[in-house]
Symmetry: C2
DNA sequence: CTTGACCCTGACGTAACGTCAGGGTGTATC
DNA sequence: GATACACCCTGACGTTACGTCAGGGTCAAG
């Protein structure tokens, strides 16, 4: 069949089929003398597979890899990808929470450029600079008020979850910082901060990541979960924020 | 301060600051004679606000609108945006579920190009064509087997959730199809199909949307929730799939 | 032989920047 | 005063997954 029918049957546009041809993801099964693309059922079946992975959010380049290398471990790819999906969902949950808190006036649409996340809540150099710079603003007062309003139980549970995340990082020591399971933990950490403190943008997160190894106090606190945990977190955060 | 310091303090890159200047999102507070950008604290505060909205996923163009029009209803924007976030999260939950089912071998990485979603499970023209085309394949048999394995209770609860979603659409009749609350329902519907039937790509979804008004049986079934519900669903799906 | 439906290949646009390349500015040092 | 070096600038192209023309062949019907 010609391109129009193939497009109609699968729901994609003709442009998409030509694009997939060009990037080598799906070549037509044949061509007429006049250069018309022809697709057969095998081609359409391959397209179905492509669309399945695309729907899951795989980039097209990776889909091509998966489908062209026969030895590719598809289950492993799926498992890793699932972790990315979970991480993204957790991040969204943090944002939803942030939006709700902002609507209720519990958040000020700004943020403090330092970590008050129970690591040990001492101000380091970075935080001090931020405090000097933003200390006099309404945003600062607002945020102080909010965190001050947390009850002791709330704080305890927040720190407990933080410790859980540290422990999870500690368990992954030895893994590469860019592995999906590690990256998923970074997303969870970011969501944790966003939910409990302030809008943790990736810029903030990157700044925190640097502190975790640069500042003794932060590092020691994190490494209570095991030596090298802070280093892994820091490296993983760097990778996470680079994209 | 000059651009480098501003970038360091806020965590964004210089390139980003120049870009925001160019697109009119954040102009520097001043310029030196030689054309160097200068930023003061007001500018940095504005940048904080920008980054807050950016983190929530607002497009830069909308952030500019929000911040430049004093009469803009920020709470309304946040409320609408929250619905988009929720919709996206639900979609991800559907995909996570799909990935897990695939890993367990309960899914075949393909899909049936027709809706078996309890609407009334009769094959329409579109479905018939798909059946003719894919009917003999393993994928088809596999999927039949799977849905056949659903117990009666499972089916009942699946259909119940479908009815809930129809009712939610019915409650929004009169709203424009592109409103975020309506769009959020579309995402929920897609996630429902993905969770309970097959990988519902946007191409599939678009095909279903057309059926809902084109095919009497589907339309009548949906309109049990109220006349005009199918039309709204169909329109909303069309908008949803267009992007 | 003309119409109309269908096909093709560029080429530009999208969002939000990253990454050079090529060149000017500012200040400290030799 | 020349040089070194850090810092600043403006293009311009690359990225992802296509959408949207523009300009021009192909094919069957009338």
């Amino acid at each position: 069949m010609k391109i129009q029918e193939a497009a109609r049957l699968t729901g994609v546009t003709e442009r998409t089929l030509r694009y997939y041809d060009r990037i080598g993801l799906l070549h037509p099964s044949g061509m007429t003398e006049s250069g018309y693309r022809l697709y057969d059922e095998d081609a359409l079946r391959r397209l179905q597979q492509i669309l399945f992975f695309r729907e899951l959010g795989f980039p097209l380049a990776q889909i091509r890899e998966i489908m062209d290398s026969p030895g590719y471990d598809m289950n492993e790819a799926l498992r890793r990808h699932r972790l990315l999906l979970v991480a993204e969902r957790d991040r969204l949950n943090g944002l939803i929470d942030l939006a709700e808190r902002t609507l209720k006036g519990e958040n000020d649409m700004s943020f403090d450029a330092f970590d008050r996340s129970g690591i040990d809540r001492q101000r380091d150099a970075y935080a001090e600079e931020a405090r000097r710079r933003w200390g006099g603003t309404d945003a600062y007062a607002e945020s102080e008020k909010k965190t001050a309003g947390y009850g002791k139980e709330k704080w305890a549970s927040v720190e407990e979850e933080a410790d859980e995340i540290f422990a999870a990082f500690a368990a992954l020591r030895g893994h590469a910082p860019d592995e999906p399971d590690v990256q998923a933990l970074v997303a969870r950490w970011q969501a944790h901060i966003t939910r409990n403190y302030y809008a943790c943008t990736k810029e903030i997160l990157a700044g925190l990541g640097q502190m975790y190894t640069a500042d003794e106090r932060f590092m020691q606190n994190i490494d209570r979960a095991g030596a090298g945990t802070a280093q892994l977190m820091s490296d993983a955060i760097a990778v996470y924020c680079a994209k």
